[in-house]
Symmetry: C2
Subunit: 323 residues, 2 copies
Amino acid sequence: MPASHRSLAIDVGGTAVKLAVVWDDGRVEATTEIPTHADAGPEAGAARILDAGRDLMEAVELAPAEMHALGIASAGIVDRDRNLVLDAPNLRRWENYPLAANLGTAFGVPAFLENDASAMTYGEWRCGAGRDRRHLLCLTLGTGVGGGLIIDGQPYRGARGAGGEIGHITLDRNGPACPCGSSGCLERYVGAPAIAVRAAELLGRDSRPSALRSRAERELTPRVIREAATAGDTLAIEVLAATGAWLGVGLASLANVLDMERIVVGGGVAKAGDLILEPARRVLRERAMSVPGARVEIVAAALGNQAAVVGVALLALERVQGS
Amino acid sequence: MPASHRSLAIDVGGTAVKLAVVWDDGRVEATTEIPTHADAGPEAGAARILDAGRDLMEAVELAPAEMHALGIASAGIVDRDRNLVLDAPNLRRWENYPLAANLGTAFGVPAFLENDASAMTYGEWRCGAGRDRRHLLCLTLGTGVGGGLIIDGQPYRGARGAGGEIGHITLDRNGPACPCGSSGCLERYVGAPAIAVRAAELLGRDSRPSALRSRAERELTPRVIREAATAGDTLAIEVLAATGAWLGVGLASLANVLDMERIVVGGGVAKAGDLILEPARRVLRERAMSVPGARVEIVAAALGNQAAVVGVALLALERVQGS
């Protein structure tokens, strides 16, 4: 049975906004990406998202009247009932802005907002690396670190829809301050800015040759470091290994509390694959208790950076059908 | 309708073993307590538990044939299907010992094993401070720190029954080594031994007068410190406040991940009440994200140190009735 409807999905992150046209079975027909320019505020952002969405729809000949649903995934804690972003450390000016309502009106279709990591989790659970698991943790490593949970075969959101903020568990009470108001959060050790700082520090105190030395700190992106590591650059490999080890510290804590079957890791930083995941697995086994630690699998996301748009498209579709 | 049956419940901790005769509605008829002497091994322990249980049953005129069920709560990760303790940092020699099978045979009644913190959680959820909550975290502060979860109105155990090990989330990757194999675990900051070390350190570097100065470090038990604090001893109050602050660091991480409605704190250390809980509440509000942090309540357990025996009696009863 062929999928017969298409939805528009939008994934708003601290750095980039992804847009995708997604079929009802989760297949992605087309995608595009624009920079977020978060500091320019949500009105300007919404206007640029609208333009990019219209261009994408035109490119795949999707008329507004044919669009099935509009799903919007956003960083931060989301109020699903009111379609608002409540608390987003990497999108502070976008809090409480009616992005979904405004884009829904502009596109002429019901729009639903979801936390980006919950959307990614749903996508990986329905169509990706978490398929058929009853106890699943997904996390997305990018500018920020988000997470989502499937518990006993159901998406878990917590008492007020704010669960799953994996990036803000404390790994060192006296560690670096976090925009969330706490300190030493997982995100401060494995998010993209933390990786750049780690690379710059290592380059400063270690005299071995490295392709990274030609770069300013702001150029030490996860992509640049990953490419150097893949080419065999020892310092770049060590930066990713140290990042993976911190990830393992956090995942060990979560395994002890939640006893998951599988942990799916996605997001831009996770493109480094086993350069990050293998050190994370090693540290998880060292630090987690024997039973939850011995069998939990850490795997790369299967849908790449499309997990959130796939998930939010399927979630929006369910909400349109359920309403 | 009067409760018509009684069960025997046994709560095996690193320091003490509690025994109780419990009615089917959760009322406790009688209790007794013996030291664990964990290092003497489980055979000697089982023999002493058997003696204490028989004495207790005789005292309340409960004949073995009238006993409805035998529930055993134990520290550590428990395999409920095989009735074995798999991993117990504070009861290492008791791992894989068939305590439930042997006591069940000796008492002539089906015996069921449960993790002590899961039992405490079940007791507080059914009959105590967590009644009618759908998203609940219970923790028990003693020699070790255990925890249990009620998620979406159901006891949560994880993929392999090992979830809820709240005491072993990392608060400082480079913190003190933990018997679990990790380092900087919550238990290393709020368990009874950590409190004694904190008190001794504060006494060493602070010259203010304190009733605690007359004590050797091994005498700095939570009870001694609590009694001094209640009498107004400033250093004792500060030791408990610092302990509560560390508890708040851990609970903030858990609130960000799980977004609970309520956190119930029990165990011997928690008898200090608001001397520990108020600093924990303050730090939780400072460190947790706005939505999960603003409304989660931290309350004292209502069943005191009887929560685990009440919970394990009710759980054993359900399993007898279900089998």
